[in-house]
């Protein structure tokens, strides 16, 4: 590893990593509960359409809700059993969202179909993208954008890089780490599949140097060609490289990752396509492999349960729709010290009110934090220290943007770059006045959609 490790150029913070809490233990499979609650829409895009009825029997992997239009994704049944109810419930990020309640019959009928020997037959390459779409694969890093959409760039755009995001720059989370360590060959095979679909040979897997075992596992899988074990037919040639990146938040933000690896900056308001890049998460790469080689829909994922207030921190494999309470039980419950709980990482995750919400495709972690870790504080007046300006990876002045928002001057706030904000939270992390900077930017974004064009 070189002593000068690549990173994004501007801003960034280095919070307490907290990875050791959950990184060491083995992957635990959570017992599938009797009753699951599967949200109808688990992606960013047009809501899915429910295709089952109350009382209907379903099998593992059966479509519950189908994609509605090109920027959408289907949702599959994680168990076999009966549809109990189609209604509304609280999920992460929404107080009321359509969900499908399923009674698990414990037989897992239909699951056998996905358990055969995986085969990636390159002669069927034209079929790959369709399999990814119908398996309901979405970005598993957290944003949950339908993967198939990102793998089909507009026809006038030339893509020359597929970047795989293994940074896992959010503190505490180790779900991607454990996948890279334990399923490196399949992750790399998934990368190859996506590269094949895009027609690029240059694949770069970016991993922060605080995950040396993941870097080693991926490098071994690549150099010893382990990932090609399941390949058949006319295999294209690939140039796949693991790129160690400096541990610096938000290294795994899409634009920052592209800059660190290729030196290119995605212009304001544009997509990675505009600089010839496609970015996918390592967990997504594994889901792509499962979709293509096993024709297996996405109905389970690894969730990191960690923080100072959970008894057994670690990584837990859970079916989509499993209530958080079942995961908490599997991890030995929370302790008295519990002061805050978060779905996602500490920098960008969402506060949880209770343990009733279900696991969804985009849920990378659950944090159970002590009062010291959660660090809630009263905000005071901005002292213009400029720490937020230095921390902002997007080159913005958060203090100025949010000062405009305080006076409801949305246009002014937008002209200062509020819409470029990726909400990484670096500014608020360093703010000595504990100002709620990110919330103010979100408010600006909310009002920007209502302004006359």
């Amino acid at each position: 590893m070189s002593s000068v490790t690549a990173r994004f150029k501007r801003g960034g913070v280095h919070p307490y990593e907290g990875k050791e809490l959950s990184a060491a233990s083995e992957l635990v499979t959570v017992e599938v509960p009797k009753r699951l609650q599967v949200p109808v829409t688990q992606h960013l895009g047009k809501p899915s359409k429910v295709v089952v009825e109350k009382g209907q029997d379903v099998q593992v992997g059966q479509i519950l809700a189908e994609a509605d239009g090109p920027i959408s994704a289907p949702v599959h049944s994680p168990v076999s059993g009966k549809v109990l109810k189609i209604g509304d419930a609280e999920i992460v990020g929404a107080y009321r969202a359509p969900v499908i309640d399923i009674m698990n019959d414990g037989k897992f009928t239909g699951e056998e179909a996905f358990k055969g020997t995986p085969v990636v037959n390159w002669d069927e390459k034209g079929d790959f993208l369709g399999r990814i779409r119908s398996a309901g694969v979405v970005g598993l890093g957290g944003a949950a954008f339908p993967t198939a959409v990102k793998l089909r760039p507009p026809p006038n755009v030339k893509i020359d890089h597929l970047l795989i995001n293994g940074c896992e720059c959010e503190p505490y989370l180790t779900a991607d780490d454990i996948l890279m360590r334990e399923r490196a060959a399949e992750v790399v095979a998934g990368c190859a599949i996506m590269a094949g679909i895009l027609g690029v040979d240059r694949v770069r897997i970016g991993v922060e140097v605080n995950k040396p075992r993941a870097i080693e596992a991926l490098s071994t899988a690549i150099s010893q060609q382990v990932y090609t074990a399941t390949f058949k037919g006319a295999i294209p040639s690939f140039d796949i490289v693991t790129v160690p990146l400096r541990t610096m938040y938000p290294q795994g933000a899409e634009k920052q990752l592209i800059e660190a690896i290729t030196g290119r900056q995605v212009p304001s308001g544009q997509l990675p396509f505009s600089v010839g890049c496609v970015v996918q998460n390592v967990g997504t790469a594994l889901a792509v492999f499962d979709a293509v080689a096993r024709k297996r829909p996405l109905f389970e994922r690894v969730v990191t349960l960690t923080g100072g207030a959970i008894t057994n921190p670690g990584n837990y494999l859970a079916r989509i729709g499993t209530p958080v309470s079942a995961l908490v039980a599997a991890a030995g419950g929370t302790t008295e010290a519990l002061a805050a709980q978060v779905a996602g990482g500490p920098m960008m995750g969402k506060s949880l009110r209770n343990h009733d919400v279900p696991v969804v495709k985009g849920m990378s972690g659950l944090l159970f934090l002590t009062a010291a870790e959660a660090a809630a504080a009263e905000e005071t007046d901005c002292i213009r220290c400029g720490r937020c300006v230095n921390a902002c990876p997007m080159g913005l002045a958060p203090c100025e943007i949010t000062a405009q928002a305080d006076f409801l001057k949305w246009e002014k706030s937008i002209s200062l770059g509020a819409l470029d904000c990726v909400e990484c939270g670096s500014c608020q992390y360093v703010c000595p006045a504990n100002r709620f900077l990110v919330a103010r930017v979100r408010l600006t974004k909310f009002y920007s959609r209502r302004l006359p064009k």
């Binding site: 919070p15 307490y16 212009p267 506060s351 949880l352 080159g395 913005l396 002045a397 360093v430």
Partner: protein, 328 residues
Amino acid sequence: MSENRMILQSSPHARDRESVRKVMYTVTLALLPAVIAGTVFFGLRALLVMALSVVACLIFEGIAMKVSGKPVKETLLDGSAVITGLLVAMNLPSGLPLWMVVVGALVAIVLGKHVYGGLGNNPFNPALVARVFLLISFPTAMTAWPVPYGTDGVTAATPLGVLQMEGAAVALQSIPYYNLLIGNVGGCLGETSAIALLLGGIILLVRKVISWEIPVTFIATVLVFTTITWLVAPDKHINPLWHVLSGGVMLGAWFMATDMVTSPVSRKGMLLFGVGCGFFTCIIRLWAGYPEGVSFAILIMNGLVPLIDRYLAPTRFGARQATQGAKA
């Protein structure tokens, strides 16, 4: 698990350990060497002026908080009034009548800070507002400089005063560099010891309370400007080192210009701000009526901060044109 006990907040859920209070107390700590130097050279009277100024500032701060309906107790202890009090005192001659010190504290806290909305909202450095107010209102008292180690009532000109009245040759001859460095010269009670102020500046830099841009560009500009004038007319103008070590450059560059509230937030802005402070300091020193120009220079640049922040905003990510791949 009871729901209402849970912290519910928008992200991020992690914070580093910095707080306004910590920032303020670090600045106070960094001022300590200069406080000690001031007491050594100007005696207990200097210590009295500083203590009085701090206490008066705290009282006025408390009253202002109460009047404007803000939480008095927590905010009073954020440390900012202590710093303002110390800085006001450091910008005064140690022999100033005590009631004038109280007037200075009143001007700094009320006119300099709270009429604008309190900490964070004032455009001008409150301590400098107080100093300039006193200088214009009580010019005689504000320019009666006690002699270091001197007895009450004995005053003499500051190095810059000597320079203005008697010229470069006399100034160089009568005031050794060593005295300028340690602070054994006449002047405001907190500005004379370059070495103590430099030590404080290093504390601020190491603790990352300030960044290098403002002090370095401020001092460098004074050095460059006075080097040029010195080279052009060595008989008329004094050398750059003398300029940097004398008067309020050190106090101004490390503690006054770097006041977060009244300086730019972007690094580019800080560079211009520092250059401007140095530039106006030299203009006033060399060609204006006052022997010293640091206070006015910083106040002028304070007034320009909103413009600087607007036109020297940080470079946004993606502003650089994409070079490859974008071509269809």
